[in-house]
Symmetry: D2
């Protein structure tokens, strides 16, 4: 039996925090009421929010220079599920887990599904991996995968993706995320158009293998690992390809995969408008694909993204269900702590966006009153919705203070004892 | 009668340069022959190349901080045509002129057409202007034009664009370039999606007014004059809009309108692949929309753009005819000198790209030989094709050394005497 | 007599807002008390905060493409003082005004000083202008000012700066801000080192003319109006020059003058460490020197800057007094509203930074507890200190809701009537 | 005995290339003569040029996502010396090798020195490594090295650097390059000023251990592996630290370590002016620290860097001797081929810069003739100096066509047979 935080422990920890929460909650409720806000409705919204966990995120990440492992890291997909379970237990906001193959491959899908269910978890979109050579793989992806010049390499990459679909299908997943690192390091290395033609041909084969109720998420990225020309480098290419492929193909927005200065919330608005917004890989960044904790660098930007999602939800109604996933690399923190904190940060932006006075905003926009329109957003952003999020967790059976409770439980020390082996490549958290 | 450089003067100037040109030409011919190249074929290619001049480019440009006028600047569209004529006379590479309304509006289209013909010039795509308020205009574009909330503003902007089409039609133009500065300076100022919906509605009305043989060029730009969210900010938005509008709508690539680090040649390849590459505004930049002389900052990038155009031309055949235009702001140089030099730089990149050994390149690409593929491009780029360009000019009746001849002619001093008035806003060269 | 908002009107407006403020204030006081915070101490801090106004900021700004004037814009420096007075009256946070010569030149310094005193204003650092050619100026700055090749141009620019010092001295100012746009648009145009040598020579002459109690603020900027190489392009150059010049020379940080992705708060820390942090031009930006309202794009960054200032103040003690100035361009808002809002945003960041639990932060830093260190900052940033700022204004005699009060007063309509003439270049707000 | 390319083989290969070289050389000599140039002087200059090789560069590099090894990779420092020897044998431009400890640590310094001498190699600056945890190391660098909060970590990092100096001293090296990845991933993680204070304290201890004739090169880098705040992030910090430390401390410029849009050649000019330009890590990049082959992305920028070096050499005379080193990561090419090509590219830029007509350039600068100044640089850059470089190699005993000769020799196939073991971390080429 592996260690799990007991509900008694959790309840006791919450008991110590509750008085302060109640005071803060009442104070906030009063302030919102003055502005016509209903705190209970916001708690309900928060309680219904979820963002999926990346299985690879519970391992310590690294850079090309080094990886400094943490203690008690997960050794396999079952350990990862345990860690994801702990995150969900305390935050009540992360019921989905996004797997990554072949890292998370198992021969016993039923056992994995049961392990997840015991934590109240299900499987979100699965991820294929053609940016590394797996052990025993016949052909190398050194010079590309879905875009490779060699048809045998492409066939292998296509087959791997279809295999991922089948693995995911057996686990109850409903989506495939395709990110390829394919690209060129030198001008001339690729025929830029030829590479995209081969990509589309490969993707059509994968698309044809999707179950009827599945979606395919196309993830673009400006650079890294390719440093001159990445085949799927921007939302324009992603959008054009998703359009070519058909209605099951959607675009996935990773917040760290854009050129400097890019207005990401506008890309969200554009993809929503043209019916191709598939979902998100949330993280934060200052320079490149830094994969930092969500909201840690530019929390206002995260809020503005959710403000666009709020607008799209009003326009599109229930049909609008983009997939929310975290995708981060935790190099200097305990990954469980970072993922808990990040899930809460994303949820925070969602609730802050819900606080936007949409009617006032629209009024100011129509009057070209830029100052008051901006202040309408700022007022929502400035509201400290922490008590709402904590109350939603508490009512859902989670922790008022997830990190505090986790630390008090000494979960990591238990795992250190339970998981003696060194963490392998499968938990390196680098996507 | 205004001053024009006489053909005698030109011939005498060329006579002084010819010996050196002949020597360089022979040396280059020999070197190319060793590699299997045919210099005469390249001269023919160069002689057939052309890039259009921006009427606003012959005036001295400026920044928001200041404009430091030059001497003898053009005062009106007829003066501009004279300057464009001088540029074409010496370079033989700029037979088209792109007008900008209302700056270049004239009540006598026939006179303007005749003035152009006297210089061997014709009219390329015309440009509308809804980023400034023209004198006497009923509604202001302060808060947008084609995207404005106020339907009357939108109607005015649509009517102006249709007016431009009619003016252009009367002058023999075949295209309309639509660049709007519309956007927001503050988060919240615009409903981002609503603004694009209004844009599309406005553009459909303009599109409907296009003559059968016209194209509409959609120009995107990341920022400036809008500093938070520009409605047509990137090629993805441009592409999506051109697709919505129909086959006459194409995308225009200005080399300075992208986010930092953007791979522009890949955007060229993508737009060509998806059938929406309309043309170019050539210039160079280091920071933003710096509008510097073409090839002055990153000549290798300009070459790589033409390498993609070469590839597209092979694939698409004669149907592939993107529009080439210069769009620069000349703040510290004589605009005529900068435009002559820039036309030659663009032509240089075109000929360097023609020198690429396409067969060897394709061979290296198929073998994943990145190093030799890169060197294949580099070898073409490193070839100093200057003698080819000079010979093409000479045979076409132009100048071996356009700037040298221009300076020797004292053209500018003549114009200083002829054009006593201060240059007005109409020649400020700021697009 | 020009219109001024009466104290009665202000008091009545406040009376309508006070109940809500009191409720919010009490709620916040309680929440802070739980965490050991003292709201009254924070109100005192806020009440003592000030940031100077840029005289040019009260006019509507523009871009190189267009300027869309507002109504009732100031026509001269006395009108500007009136507008600055209104801003200070309502915010009680902007007692200083930073003048810009020759735009604000007056022959009657005493009258100007008295006009300012009537509004409770004094004069902060004065700004020289050698990026434009003033009417009647003998030599042009087209090719540089303090760095110009022509000694006569440099002498003129030096003399203008010394003249600014004298003008400022007569007005009670204690500092000179020197920003030059000097630079090159083309590789080769400047000898990069020669240009900086000439700059230093010119600056030494100005430095020698500084009164004993004056400081000279060197402002760097990456680009614009120069688009290839700006002479004072980065903090490294600014720092090296300030070191060369002597102790009265300090570096000024404008938040919009850096390369993309730059960590500005670290530059603040560096300059403070090396004793050369002179002050700030506050604004916000997304792309370049966008000059947007402070805190409108990235409020967390503004907070992080003030977190460094908090740290420096602890280390340096009372000697640490960097100059705070707003420097913005208001293109689509009423400049008075933007300046009031921006002053409050800067003050907000100052108070949020004061809320940082420095002891806990230091503890987490020493334990390499990156997550809790980050959360310690976030907790302070997330606190909505609005009631503290409003209470400080109220107690200082200002407005609880400055924009609301200003709009209710119809100040702008009054000015529209009082200021019939078109606004001239002197109010164009473009620095 | 390990395989080496025989001088007979090399001579035969050259014999096949010589006719074409002679023809190209004569043609170029003629063209240069027309412009007053002396090709023989340029050949001498080229023959005297050298750039050091990075020992880690001969292994295949990778990214955080994957490393795709090549065949026959070096297994240890002696293998690396062999590969460096082959590069120098063919290019005659790379007599120095820069070692990296502990990767290249050996217990037999004499044997290593002799191995180098047999290839005509010597040892350039040595590099310390405190961005990875070496096997058996007592303290981890996870949270910093020279800046770590824990004094024991700092002491270990200082001791390692001093150890590197001693190892280098025994090998005849004269310099220590210090690059630390230290920094923070989260706002708040570091006290930014405290970290630099600790850095300076550590560096002073290392500085004190430098032999009298040694230099210390401080290498800055914007980001990676730290993603929020890097302690030595920019040239300003590097310069301030080098100034604090003393005359033996100089700044090292890596071409890929700057913010987007940075004008690197101006940084070179600044450091030269203030006496702190220590040397270079040459490579090329489009996005971040891409470590691509020198000159492969922006060859004009490389030329402009050497144009500044040319200017500095004139001003400083013989005292001006910055260290030139390659620092690249070869992920998709044969590292030997990339290093040979890159050495030639750097040499090419050096010779192109030597071709600049300095007198004409200075004349145009003084006349504010930006266009002709720019063209003066362009004319030098456009000259295909390949025949000069090839002739210098030939006369020095190297290969006319290094890559062609290397491929013909089947060197890599020989090494594949000689080096059966998998390449270890020590050749991963990631700095």
């Amino acid at each position: 039996m592996t260690y799990r935080i007991s509900s008694d422990f959790l309840a006791q920890h919450n008991a110590r925090e509750q008085r302060r929460l109640d005071a803060d909650y009442d104070a906030l409720a009063g302030m919102l009421q003055c502005r016509g806000g209903d705190i209970e409705a916001l708690v309900s919204l928060a309680a219904g929010f979820s963002v999926a966990l990346p299985s690879w995120g519970v391992g310590t990440g690294g850079t090309r220079f080094a990886r400094f492992p943490g203690k008690g890291e997960p050794r396999n997909v079952f350990d990862k599920i345990d860690d994801c379970g702990a995150i969900h237990q305390l935050t009540r906001a992360t019921p989905g887990v996004s797997l990554h193959f072949p890292w998370d491959r198992t021969t016993d899908a039923r056992a994995l599904r049961e392990a997840a269910q015991q934590h109240g978890l299900h499987f979100d979109a699965v991820n294929s991996n053609t940016f590394q050579d797996a052990a025993g793989q016949e052909h190398s992806y050194k010079f590309g995968s879905l875009t490779a010049n060699d048809p045998a390499v492409r066939a292998q990459a296509v087959a791997h993706n279809i295999d991922c679909v089948e693995l995911g299908h057996a686990l109850g997943s409903k989506g495939l995320t395709v990110w390829v690192g394919d690209g060129a390091n030198f001008p001339g290395q690729h025929n830029l158009r030829g590479a995209l033609e081969r990509y589309l041909e490969s993707m059509r084969a994968i698309y044809a293998a999707l179950p009827a109720d599945w979606l395919m998420y196309i993830e673009h990225k400006l650079f890294e690992p390719a440093f001159y020309a990445t085949t799927i480098a921007d939302w324009g290419t992603s959008f054009a390809c998703a359009t070519e492929l058909g209605p099951k193909a959607k675009c996935l927005v990773d917040l760290g995969h854009h050129a400097p200065n890019t207005n990401i919330e506008m890309i969200v608005a554009r993809l929503a408008q043209f019916g191709k917004l598939g979902g998100f890989h949330f993280n934060d960044s200052k320079y490149g694909d830094d994969d930092l904790d969500s909201g840690s660098i530019n929390p206002f930007q995260l809020f503005l993204v959710f403000n666009e999602l709020r607008d799209a939800a009003v326009r599109e109604g229930d049909a609008f269900k983009p997939a929310y996933m975290l995708d981060q690399s935790h190099n200097v923190t305990d990954p469980i702590e970072s993922l808990m904190t990040s899930a809460v940060e994303v949820q925070r932006a969602y609730i802050q966006a819900a606080l936007v006075d949409a009617q006032a905003l629209s009024h100011h926009q129509k009057n070209n009153d830029a100052l008051m329109a901006a202040q309408t957003l700022k007022q929502a952003f400035r509201t400290d919705v922490g008590p709402i999020l904590a109350m939603a967790r508490l009512r859902n059976g989670g922790a008022i203070d997830p990190v505090g409770c986790y630390r008090a439980s000494a979960y990591r020390d238990h795992k250190r004892a339970e998981r003696p082996q060194a963490a392998g490549a499968s938990s390196s958290g680098i996507v």
